[in-house]
Amino acid sequence: MLTRRGIGIAAALALSAGLAQAQISDGVIKIGVMNDQSGTYADLAGPGSVVAARMAVDDFGAAKKGMKVEIVVADHQNKPEVGSSIARQWFDVDKVDVIVDVPTSSVVLAVNQIAREKNKVLIVSTGATSDLYGKACTPNSLHWTYDTWSLGNGTGTAVVKTGGNTWFFLTADYAFGHALERDTEAVVLKNGGKVLGKVRHPFPSADMSSFLLQAQTSKAKIIGLANAGADTINALKQGAEFGIVKGGQQFAGLLVFLTDVHSLGLNIAQGLLLTESFYWDLNDQTRGFSMRFAKLHKGAMPTMGQAGVYSAVLHYLKAVESLKSDAPGDKVVAKMKELPTDDPVFGKGRVRVDGRKIHDMYLFEVKKPSESKGPWDYYKLRATIPAEQAFRPEKDGGCPLVK
């Protein structure tokens, strides 16, 4: 394990003792990885995202280029008020230039305000709410890896088109769940499906049986899980126990990470459809990156959130190099939108005016135990959703930056 520290105890990594450049604020580019280091989202982001950020700094060759980069880490505990106070401390006192990762949409929306106010940079990888590039978009924030709209669009469309036209939502009761439910419901309705009911469960909830029973009573063909992490795992596990699938209903996991499938085991997860923007076994580049990552992270393959942090930090550093400055934040973000993106994780792509980074999304199906060659060999590709169609069109988001 590389580092796992609490709030305030930041792990600083000085990668170069090169001469400070005058244009870089305080002579050092300071990257803050803010996520859940110890709770329900720690495995899908957490310390793995820090590993990914370090890899990006190394691969960029910051040291050779004479750029001094430091990475600091904090645990926001999935609480908006904790995230806000860390962000203020980082921007005001610790001179952090950019915050990356940030799972938990309620924290994302809180930190987003602060990054704008202080004119710094926020690049969200694991956080999901599509409002970040819609009505909450700012010139200081970017949405990098995936979002609720692209998940609903990927999984929702595929499920409705294969006959799953009546839905019941199990929704985590906070900004992320609401956004995911809203975006998926729109897709279901657009494709001629119906939503028979929904229930909002507290976040996090260990016992899903009561909610599952309500879903069962609704007689909907599809139970859409608008939640994540341990909540999704528990719903699927207990759904198997209560005979949901045997009774003819099906689950649609709207946000399922590779680590969740790893925890569930293929016996329970098999056949599940899910949408992701990254899987380690897609091509030679993703395999190369993931093998290097796994060596540094206890043999675990990266999730899309962690891979996204790598991609985001790499592109941020390119923009800073090209600008020869890391401030003010809106200038850096503008530069990031101007430069095309290219990395082993997502291949070639670009960043839109509304702050949405676009690349292909993939519809995967979880393998049967007999099809899997071993740990982490979990997905087979069902469809590729081209970058230009994978995310909400710029004009529909209501982002004031789009004219």
Partner: protein
């Protein structure tokens, strides 16, 4: 079909049954806490971590030693109970004469350390634990599909709870225990080894937590945080029932399971706060708890 407040009665029965199942876990856990508090005067905040250790112990026995669920039901409480004995001997023992607060701080600190260590080793997502063959499947009761495993949890929990109550309230051993709480010197004068009895009582309470952990392993994710999520609720249950009251904590456990189950139907958003609302109300009206004796 008849309805209650817009919910079909049949569905309501199902929800009540599920509430009862969750209540079984509350009852088992709050029972252990009540035993420890009643006899040792220690507020055992490590209880959640010990519950988690029980689940991990089951996982370890199955995956590393090939011992199945039924072995785990016996071995995990003994193994985790033994760690409890060590904790009592080395640390808790020194705190009996001090304010409750010190015991609370110590056990809370221990809980954080134990959880941290497990998280470091196993991550936070959790590990899969297969349901025992014999208890797979379920019965269709008409109003609900009841998994066999859940039925087993209710039966086992009721049996363990009543057994413990009987042991403490109705047997000679239990009367020694209760006497030792009231007046340790006097009981010691009769030739009873009170310190050892207290040590074993703590071990027993911890064993109960581990047993609940083993029972939870096949239905919840076996994760380092599973206890932390539950322990706060269980504390509320103990407070509502009356600190130290054995029967009180059992009944309150099942009762609050039912209340929570109903909340999940009528207003799911409040289902994780309803217990605390009840706690506040009970504390205002009857500060010693529903079944607690006024001291």
């Amino acid at each position: 079909m008849s309805e209650v407040f817009g919910i079909p009665t049949q569905a309501l029965f199902g929800q009540l049954l599920i509430g009862l199942i969750n209540g079984s876990f509350y009852a088992l856990l709050s029972l252990g806490l009540a035993v420890i508090f009643g006899l040792l005067n220690i507020i055992n905040f490590t209880h959640g971590a010990q519950y988690m250790m029980g689940a991990f112990c089951a996982w370890f026995l199955l995956n590393k030693l090939g011992l199945n669920y039924w072995w785990a039901l016996i071995l995990a409480p003994i193994i985790v109970g033994a760690t409890g004995v060590v904790i009592e001997r080395l640390m808790l023992r020194r705190l009996y004469k001090l304010d409750h607060l010190y015991g609370l701080l110590l056990t809370f600190g221990l809980a954080l350390i134990i959880q941290g260590l497990f998280r470091q080793e196993f991550g936070s997502t959790g590990l899969p634990y297969a349901m025992p063959q014999a208890l797979q499947g379920g019965q269709n009761l008409g109003f609900i599909f009841l998994p066999n495993y859940r039925a087993w949890v209710v039966v086992a929990s009721v049996a363990v709870c009543l057994g413990t109550w009987y042991l403490i309230e109705k047997t000679k051993l239990g009367s020694y225990l209760r006497a030792a709480t009231e007046n340790p010197q006097l009981v010691q004068a009769f030739g009873v080894n009170v310190p050892r009895m207290v040590t074993l009582t703590y071990g027993f309470g911890v064993g109960l937590a581990a047993l609940a952990g083993v029972m939870a392993a096949p239905i919840y994710s076996v994760s380092p945080l599973m206890g932390a999520d539950l322990i706060i609720v269980v504390f509320a249950v103990v407070v509502i029932g009356g600190m130290g009251s054995i029967m009180g904590s059992i009944l309150t456990g099942f009762l609050l399971g039912l209340v929570e189950g109903l909340t999940k139907v009528f207003y799911p958003e409040a289902s994780n706060t309803v217990i605390f609302i009840i706690m506040a109300i009970v504390l205002m009206i009857k500060p010693a708890g529903l079944f607690g004796a006024q001291k």
